[in-house]
Structure formats: C-alpha cells, structure tokens
Subunit: 488 residues, 2 copies
C-alpha cells in the first residue's frame, strides 16, 4: 500500500537533527512491522510539506535509508520499503511500554466473556464434511441477483437510504415488504408501528430481553435451547428457568408459576427440530393469559418448511398482543447480512426502538434497501424455492445415509428445516466425538452447549445439511458412525 | 407486487363452502388494505395446490370476485386486484381485536424511550437552507468508487466475508487497514487484538459504557456534550457528573473526585468545537493516573482537521493503556454506513467483543469489506481530500456571512470541523428560533439538547455546513440574523 503522509509524526522533544529524526521515525516503523516490504513512501516533497521541514532534509534521510537497505529507490516511481529490510524479531509481539497499568478485572462491571459461544473452526469451509449449522451455501445462493439488488440500492436515487442516519426509523420500503409479503405467510397482520428491524434475530432477542427482564424477573427457556439466548439472558440478571422440551416442543402444563417472559421456538424447536402442534400453541397462549406472561416467539427457520406448509405462528393466534415475534433473514439469505425483525405491540416496539437507537442506531441503510429490492423483485421467493428443492434432496440423502449407518435420530423435523438432532449411544461423549471427527475432516456440533448447565440430556449432537454437498453426505455420515462405533 | 401464494390461509373452522371461504379470504385482504390495487394474484392452479382444493373452486371464486369488482382479469396474464376495488374506510387504523391486553408499562424494566433524540425533520433535504450536522452531501461523496468497492466486495471471491456469521471476529482485511492506515495518523500503534469494529461510534460508546459502568460507578461527561452519550449513560444507572467545558475543552483540574470513567472529545469538542491543547491532554492523563480513572476518547471528527494537522490523540500519549479510543466512519464516509471502532487494552476489548457478540454479533460482513476496499484502493484518502477542499471553501463563506450578518460565534474550531457553535443574544430562546426559521426554510440545531438538564449555558445553537451548498449559505445566515433580530 501507499503509506499516507498523515501517518508520519515527529515525536515531540526528540533529540538529534531533523534528518536523524526522520530516519529514526521510518526505521522504527519498519522494525515494528507497521511499514512493510513493498509499501510506497510519500514523495519527499509531500512528506517535507507535511512535517514542515525542507525537502532536502527528507531527501537526505531517504538516501541514508536506502543505503541501510530500509528503503529501495525505484527511479521516478519513488521510494518503497525494501523487500530485504531489517525486521526486529520481537516486532510481532506487543510494542514496548504499551501494556496496561489498569486493573481491568476490577474495572469491568460484569463478566461478558464468561458466556462464550462454542464456534466452528474458522476454516470450516476447507473441511470435506462440514455438517455445520446455519451458514450459507455459495452453490445455492443467488449471487447474481443479490449483486444486482445491492447495486441498485447503491444508485443515486437511493442515496438517502444508503447514507442517512435514521436514528430510530427504518427503511419504509423494507417495512412495506415485511408487512405485505413476509408476515402474511405467517398469518400475521401488523402495522408499521408494530415492526422493528434488528441486527439479526440475536439482536431482536437481546432487545426483547433487555426491555422485559432484570433483577427480580423470571424468564423461561426451552431446554435445550439456542445457545445465543443463554448468554443474552445471563446479562439481564433475571432468574432463568429452563423447561425440558418433548417431541412436541415446550409443554405448557409444566411451566413454572410466576414467569414474566417465556422464550419459545414453536416452528422448529432449536435445536431438536420439534414442531409444536396447534393445540399446544393454543394451550400455551391460554396459559400466558391466565398467568399474565409475555411470549417471545423465535420463528428463526419458518421459511425452511419445505415438507409441509408451516404451522400458523403463535403470533397469528395471539388475540391479546402478548406475543413478541422474532423473524430473521439469517437462514433464508445468509447470517452475515445481519438483519432480522420484531413484530409486537406498539408500546413494546417503541421501547425496543429507543433502546436500539441508543445501542446502535439502526441496521445499515444499504443492507435494508438491498433486502427490500431482493424481496420486491421476486428474487427472494425464487431463492427460497431453490433452497427448498436442494434441502429436500439433501434431506433424502441424509435420511438414507443415517439409516444405512444405523445412527439414531432424536429429532427429525416434520416440516423440513436444515438439520437433524441426533443421539449417540450411552457412554459416548459427543464433545470427544466431535474432536475425533474433526481430525477426519468431519464437523458436527456436540449437544452439551445447547443445554442448561447441569441439565444435559443424553449424548446429543446436531448435524446440518445446509452447507454440505449431497455427494459428500454418505461418506460423512459413515465416518460419524465409524467414530461412534470405536467408543460404544 | 405479485402476492406470494404462501400468504393465503384458510381460517380453521370457518363456515361456508370452500369457494365462499376463498372469496372471503381475498375480499378481507383487499378491504383491510393488505392486498392493494394492481397486486397480482397467484394463478388459480398455484393457489389451488397451495390450499389443497380443486382448481375449479379457485377459478369460480376468482370469477365471483371479478364480478364484485374486487379483482380484474387481464386475459392470459392473470388476475389483479381491481383498481376500483372497494376499500373499507377504517382499514387504515388498527385491525379489530389486535389491541394489547398486556400492561406494557408495568412489564418493561426501564424507560428507554424517555431519552429521546431531538431529530431533524425527515424531509430535511427538501429545505433550502439545511445547516444540519453530520449528514453526507451527495455532491461530495465518491459514489462511483464506493459502488465499485461494494461490487467488488460482493464478488464470488469474497463470498465468505459477505455471508458468514463471524460471531466475535472482524474482517481481517479491514482491521489491517485500520491498524496500518488510519490509526498511525493519530499516532496510535495497536495490535489486532486491541481493535474492535462497532456499529458506528454510538455503538462503541454504548459498549464502553456497558462494560465499565453500573450502579455505584461515577461517569464524567463534558457539558455540553454529544446528546447520544447522555441516553447511553442514562441506561447504565451510574452517577453522571457533567463538567463545564471552556474554550480549551474539558478542564482536568476541576474534575470531581472518584470518577471511574471520563468521556471526552479532545480533537473537536462536541458540540463547541474546542480543541484541547497538548498540555491539557497530558494533564488529563496525569490526573487519570493519579485518580486511577479510565478515559473514553471520542475522536469522531479527527479526519475533518483540514486547517491544521490534527493534534496527537490522547491515546497516542497514553503510556498506561488507560484510554479507550473511539473512531468512526460516520463523518468521513456517511452515518448510514454504521461503522466505527474501539482501540483499547486487550482485556477491555475482549469483554466489549463478547458483549457485542451477545447484542448483535458483528457489523454486516459486506459493509466491512466494502470499507476495506475503499481504504485499500486509495479512494478514502481521495475522498477526504475532496471533503477538505469543499469544507474549507464553505467555511470561508460561512465566516464571511456570519461576520456580515453580525452573528456571534461561540466556538469556531481551529482545526476545521464541519460546524460553528453560536451564541444568540440574551433572551432569545433558540428552540423558538429554530421553529420560526424552519418555516422559512432554514434548519438550525438549538443548543439546549446538548446540555445536562439544569445546566444549560446561554442561548446556544449549532450551524453546520456539511450538507448545504456554498451558494445557499449567505442567504441562510441572513435569515437567521433576521429571525434573531425580531426577538432581540
């Protein structure tokens, strides 16, 4: 890169001549690794102007640096950091004197990093058998039209949508499409004032928890549940009661008394894939009314219902405005888009919007407008169709491979989805299993992270088919069976 | 738009024949305003498949709806909502039975919407004299190259950067450019583990406050200060002590005892434009060391130093790792990009990163990569140069117009910036002034919102020149003077 002239300062009160100071400044930058082989230096005139010294001073300093092999001169094109410039070996570490004198442990009010997400390896795409959940498959994404929409959203006509600071507003075009095209698929009728765009479903759940929970409040979660929710609730300092799910999801009749908020994933229970039948949904709403609690419905994967039409959302059955509905584009588009939404009573949305304003203002305008075009031009529906077809095919291959390998499915998902919730035989530690499989190119998700501490159920693991080519599935599943057999 | 077939449901347990139910479902949608004139209906075959009814049932329902002028048939191209379809007048309001039975006031743990931002009118761009702060000027922005960079960031090679869920990681390419190109201009040397990308400076300040403040902690702010900071600190339930700034910014010798965190804007005090001299910066750091407090340095406008090179940042003078540095692309690019960064000790960044992960995961990958390319290809520096030249010209016009109109500048900014902090004569209410000017096409920002309640100083207002064409400035300033004269 060309090194910007603004990055050069003469240290105040430094000793030596100006020429020496300039030489030291550049040599130090190279030794510390800030300036790297091949970087281009500003012209001697620009640097002299910037530092307020004469040009000859800079020229002489450059000449000396060339003699010491810090720089190389390439004729008229100027000076570059030499490819063979000296490097101080310890330059990789922390620069001297920049350690912290502050006792940060004492400074910080809460321990946020205690709640860690168990991640995938960063280079997961290089594994041949990635049964990884929730990432986009480049082979299925409609790159071409997404680019077209992004480009259109960058047009001059959309300059305001792109650049402006909305404070608390959302892109009216996207809100319109959410209201008229997405929510009706879930049977939900809403006004613009009842919708809030968020930085993904994670952000929607976080905002909901912050508005509704605090010390002295009681939250109910499914057990097992989405791992991100556990770290969110941990930050609220409220009491969290995990309730074990069964094959129909969260059972309303065993909910504890005195709940303030119940977090639930009725469409595809996360991570077991159970779908809550309509009768149970109605029973849950009735219980909410009787006990006067609020429900947060995380409908993160409804668009992955490709085996049967999705069951009506809790929100669509909610006549009392008790349900806070959370939707997301992470699964239908890709997680890096960081866009989701809340649909709830206006009073709630008003508070969540004000909180969002203080925390982050709003999701970037360009992202909002790009998604709006993608919806408006029909690419979204076409993309979902493509996803559905591909997932249906992969699912057939998964089912067959699982049967052939003799693995046990604990939760299959009657409506589709993108994963299987599996049970290893008694005595198999699935975290150990995951480690061993990783060495053989297979990535699975061990189940323990989804359970409340001390409430782990069985030897669960999850395998998803959203990022693995169908041709790789049989061998991947066979390797899982093999690794299990070694320990069982 | 084409109405997606998935938005149609037959209500459970509805009376009448299937054909009647389909008719009612569509007519209700039209009456409620969900389906609008010109919307295209699914073909009778698709709808029949979706609802699980025979095609003739749908065809007959459509025919009836055409007869009732709900739909119009356009030959082979299908059925559309009729341009003259009946509309129920009350359809604009809230649909029946969707009010909330929940006492949201009692439900919500804190009052977030109490801290409101005093916004500009949404249609501010249509005002001829918008002395509005902090928005991008389409005439100055390098649209062409921004689009090129965005397009490049959408390329297949960058698919992972675009789509992936990083959890807690940032785009390594952007981090590299922040470390090597931006931070050195502020004299800051940092490692990747000491940098965190945020959803703009607002998000950076919010994260810092959340990690460091809570009940029993004491925060110091400048008075007046950035309005967004006040709503952030209000949420921490810590004690907030506002300290009046003078023409050199925050005076270290009058800081209260027992501060935990001091929030400061040394480069361009927000909103007065005062620049803190180096001696005072050193004194502030010395005081921080003696009293063992942490400093959050909001360097939101350092790239707008076009009159003189920016003074060294506090962070560059900080040998103890006490300073949390906040940078932003909102002023140099545009606020809707929602991208900023924190530079701080590793222990602090680790916590802030974990908190960010729970709150929103990460800024969208595409935004990160687009900015990275904009920096890498040199467009950022070229864009800053263009901004500097334009702002310098506008500033000259502003100075001249202000002098001619006899207005009083309270804070001018020796290094540049994009605004003037003004003082109206005693007895002029600048909120009333702003209202009256708005009717005459002039937008100014009254000063009261920047002050701590009960600590308002004088009759301040702010006028910015970042979004007004130079040709409009003299007349705009003249109108301000005129409106002031009416009341003084």
């Amino acid at each position: 890169m060309t090194i910007p002239v603004e990055t050069f300062f003469l240290a105040q009160g430094a000793g030596g001549t100006l020429q020496q100071q300039i030489r030291a400044m550049i040599a130090d930058g190279i030794l510390a690794g800030r300036l790297r082989a091949g970087d281009k230096l500003p012209s001697s005139r620009r640097l002299a102007d910037h530092l307020g010294v004469s040009r000859i001073t800079v020229t002489l300093a450059y000449t000396e640096l060339v003699a010491g092999d810090y720089l190389s001169a390439r004729g008229r094109s100027g000076h570059y950091v030499s490819e063979t410039a000296p490097v101080r070996p310890e330059a990789v570490g922390r620069p001297d004197g920049r350690g912290s004198a502050v006792d940060w442990g004492r400074r910080m009010v809460r321990d946020f990093s205690g709640h860690r997400i168990v991640g995938r390896p960063e280079d997961w795409r290089s594994y041949p058998y990635p049964f990884i959940y929730g990432q986009a498959d480049p082979a299925l994404f409609d790159h071409q039209n997404w680019r077209q929409c992004a480009l259109r959203a960058l047009g001059r006509r959309d300059f305001d949508a792109l650049t402006e600071d909305y404070y608390e507003r959302d892109d009216p075009m996207l809100i319109e499409y959410v209201l008229r095209s997405l929510l009706p698929r879930r049977g939900i009728v809403a006004e613009p004032s009842e919708v809030l765009l968020t930085l993904g479903a994670q952000n929607a759940l976080w905002l909901s928890a912050q508005v509704l929970l605090g010390p002295g409040r009681r939250a109910v979660t499914e057990n097992p549940c989405y791992t991100g929710l556990r770290s969110i609730l941990g930050q609220t300092e409220s009491e969290v009661v995990p309730v074990d799910v069964d094959e129909e999801g969260l059972p309303p009749d065993v909910l504890p008394q005195g709940a303030d908020v119940v977090f639930v994933t009725p469409s595809h229970q996360s991570p077991t894939n159970a779908t809550m039948p309509v009768e149970r949904r109605l029973a849950l709403l009735e219980r909410a009314q009787r006990d006067d609690f609020v429900i947060v419905e995380d409908d993160y994967e409804f668009e992955m219902s490709f085996l049967r039409p999705a069951a009506p959302s809790l929100k669509s059955l909610d006549t009392e405005g008790r349900v806070i509905y959370v939707g997301s584009f992470s699964k239908s588009l890709f997680p890096g888009v960081r866009l989701g939404y809340i649909v709830a009573s206006e009073a709630f949305v008003r508070e969540a919007r004000a909180l969002r304003g203080a925390v982050l203002r709003h999701p970037p305008g360009h992202v909002q407008r790009t998604v709006a075009y993608f919806l408006a031009l029909g690419h979204y529906d076409a993309h979902l169709n493509r996803l559905h077809q591909a997932f249906r095919r992969r699912r057939v291959v998964m089912n067959e491979a699982i049967r052939e390998a003799g693995l046990t499915v604990a939760g299959r998902g009657d409506f589709g989805g993108s994963s299987f919730w599996m049970a290893a035989p008694e005595g198999v530690d699935t975290e150990d299993l995951a480690r061993r499989l990783r060495e053989r190119g297979v990535l699975i998700e061990p189940g323990r992270q989804f359970f409340a501490p001390g409430r782990e159920g069985g030897n669960a693991y999850r395998i998803a088919y959203s990022s693995i080519a169908p041709g790789k599935i049989p061998e991947g599943i066979a390797r899982i069976a093999e690794a299990i057999a070694e320990r069982a």
